[in-house]
Symmetry: C2
Subunit: 439 residues, 2 copies
């Protein structure tokens, strides 16, 4: 399209579009997608997508029938009412809020008022709704534990909200200093976003002591805590620390949930538990923060698709509201994969061996973060895809994208034992080669 000396045909210039479109974080995702397409034979430790071996199309039909039967038999709905529930616009906050409340009580010990639940198009929409509500003017900022999930930085960009990093991902010891520094600069830190269990990408889980300390800070500093919990059910052992929300007695926590990993990503159903009281300075009673989020949702997606809610509800009903129980088989797959990945790393990179690679040992989830003896760039990733047939994520993409790191994130969720073994062989060759080139 380009003639030498001429600009290409253009109806719009990027410089005249919103800044989120030139966010460096998008470049990382684009590169990975491109490499996946160029090298379809590459084994990918990059994607954190769920294992799909248990998915069955017939389950979708059954979930829909289960939900329809529930509406008719348990709620006494006529067939016209069932049709209206499935086919029409519906309640903005969602139609499966009571199912979700039961699931939270059973699986997490969270007692949520169903009216405080907003059913969203994935957890991503829930994040956006909360940030849109909290970004009132240019003083309002978000805090987030670094390295950050790209979803939260993306949502923040859509509302032009700066994100300040809390650097101690394991103990949050610098949290108070970050809050103080922001306030001293005239800013209003509104909330701290974090993933307390098996965080993506760091893999850290917060200790019980840290969770309690965090809730005290939140109360004292009038800070909300945005707790995101996509991986909580996928621990390596059976002990799971309590969610922040289950410990929350002061309405400090907005709990952001997702059924992507515990049901199926294709439904795109998530939710927020937002039981905070909001007062307008006049009304006799406050409103729920969930009703504020609902107003924003009505201007964004209007409703979460009733069909998708129906499928999740059907699965919840069939599982007696416990996804923890329903996912026993899936949890075993992830445990096996994570252990195989960790054992495989230990075999290929023994301590004291010629290649100095270290890594964290997460208590569950999908991700392991390695530290290698060279700065990791996107060029390394491309060369590794091309010459070694293996993909992974350079960790610099989870920071501001400018600071170089020596870290790599490996995901084991969408693989099996054979692919993990073969993938690690290829990866080890790459690391050895890259290390030799660096020295």
């Amino acid at each position: 399209m380009l003639t030498p000396g001429q600009a290409p045909l253009a109806d719009l210039l990027t410089a005249e579009l919103h800044a989120s479109l030139t966010d460096p974080a998008l470049e990382g995702m684009n590169l990975l997608n491109e490499l996946v397409m160029r090298f379809p034979g590459a084994i990918s430790f990059a994607a954190g997508r769920p294992f799909e071996g248990f998915f069955r199309v017939e389950d979708l039909h059954r979930h829909l029938r289960t939900y329809c039967e529930y509406l008719a038999d348990e709620l006494g709905q006529t067939s016209e009412q069932v049709v209206r529930t499935l086919f029409q616009y519906g309640r903005t906050k969602g139609v499966i809020h009571e199912f979700i409340a039961r699931n939270l009580a059973v699986d997490e010990g969270i007692k949520a008022d169903p009216e405080s639940i907003v059913v969203t198009v994935g957890c991503q929409e829930a994040m956006y709704l909360v940030l849109r509500a909290l970004r009132a003017d240019e003083r309002d900022v978000l805090l987030a534990v670094s390295p950050m999930y790209v979803g939260i930085t993306g949502a923040a960009k859509l509302v032009d909200m700066p994100v300040l990093g809390v650097e101690d991902a394991e103990h949050l010891t610098d949290l108070q200093a970050v809050i103080d520094r922001a306030r001293a600069g005239g800013l209003r830190p509104r909330a701290l976003y974090l993933v307390p269990d098996f965080s993506n990408p760091s893999g850290y889980s917060l200790s019980a002591a840290t969770r309690h300390r965090l809730l005290e800070i939140a109360e004292r500093e009038d800070l909300l805590l945005l707790e995101d919990n996509p991986y909580g059910l996928f621990s390596l052992d059976d002990e799971r620390p309590p969610t922040l929300k289950s410990l929350d007695t002061r309405r400090r926590v907005v709990y952001l949930g997702s059924f992507a990993k515990t049901c199926f990503p294709g439904a795109r159903v998530g939710f927020a538990v937002a039981d905070q009281y909001v007062w307008d300075g006049q009304a006799e009673r406050p409103e729920l923060f969930a009703d504020q989020l609902s107003k924003i949702k009505s201007m964004l997606t209007v409703n979460t698709p009733a069909f998708a809610q129906a499928l999740v509800a059907g699965k919840l009903i069939e599982s007696d509201y416990s996804l923890n129980s329903a996912n026993a088989g899936l949890r075993q797959v992830y445990r096996d994969n994570l252990r195989r990945l960790l054992d495989g790393l230990a075999r290929r990179f023994p301590p004291g061996g010629p290649v100095e690679v270290t890594w964290n040992t997460p208590g569950g989830g999908f991700f392991v973060v390695l530290t290698v003896p060279f700065t990791v760039t996107d060029e390394h990733l491309e060369r590794c895809a091309r010459e070694h047939g293996v993909l992974w994520v350079p960790m610099h993409h989870f920071y501001d994208g400018q600071t170089p790191t020596r870290q790599i994130r490996l995901s084991c969720s969408a693989l099996d034992a054979a692919l993990i073994d073969e993938g690690l062989d290829r990866f080890a060759e790459f690391v050895t080669g890259a290390m030799n080139q660096a020295t």
Copy 2:
């Protein structure tokens, strides 16, 4: 909760939340929802929701099967690939873009490159994506034909984008003046939003001459046209004017589509056709505006639910891609309803009779706008619900909410002949009573 002299318990103050939460337009919707709940026996001319007499739960199962068979038989997908398409995260721009392109060609004569289509969570998300992209800084404003659909004003509020009204809804004669005035004030009008066919709420359709003139203005003024077409298939007669997009040879039009009225609202599936070229000042080739919208979508909802897309695709396949044909029965219902409403008004408010009521005669769609001999307030609406058992929408909600009008919008989409007749009897009593009180 409130003790005299005490503020209620509050974790957040409305004054410290985003301005969209106190948008006056929300008050109108809240009032209607409240009145529906308080007076469940009221006949509603308020809701523009679709007729549901043809919805069948079994159709959902069939649509899903149709789509799965298509994937397997026509695209040669293995059962694992079919599962991946339905259950996993997918292509951000959507998976049914080629079906939508075929449908647009068959029903509207629009030749859209499938790559220029973004499948969204309803038309509302498409509106938000476009406005978010176009609102780069405080100079960027949107134009919209007044009275405005509340969806576009809501989406604009989410990105803090002012909306300037074009007052001549039928011929747009003041469009140039609005553009000039905005530019003189240092603003950048980026786009004009409009519903050219059976606009909600005014009911106007733009003539062919106006459509051509509009495209010329858009080309000359470097203005995009956001064409929203939810009702185009529901004309009173068989002649349908061409969409702006079908006449667009200069990539001026972003076509915003929805399957809410032509398939089912509960799927929440819409789309944007955004084939404009976007250049960053460096690359050899421009990108499509659709790919910019996709980047924003990836930070907002990640994907439109695959299940919902599958249902719409199944219906499209079964309809040989023509919703115009598939909706023949539905169209007849809306034609009958609209004619019954118009005839019923003429019988109850004859010209020269004691009650001076006039109304427009739309060429199709769901809405009729009446002008009555008194200023119409929300108090009238509440009293009418309580004392007469009939609901409708005061037109002031479609303007800035402050300017009083003497206009009322009636919708006939969700009613049948008996309800229209009874509802009009009740409405005529209300109007007569209100008129007598006003004089």
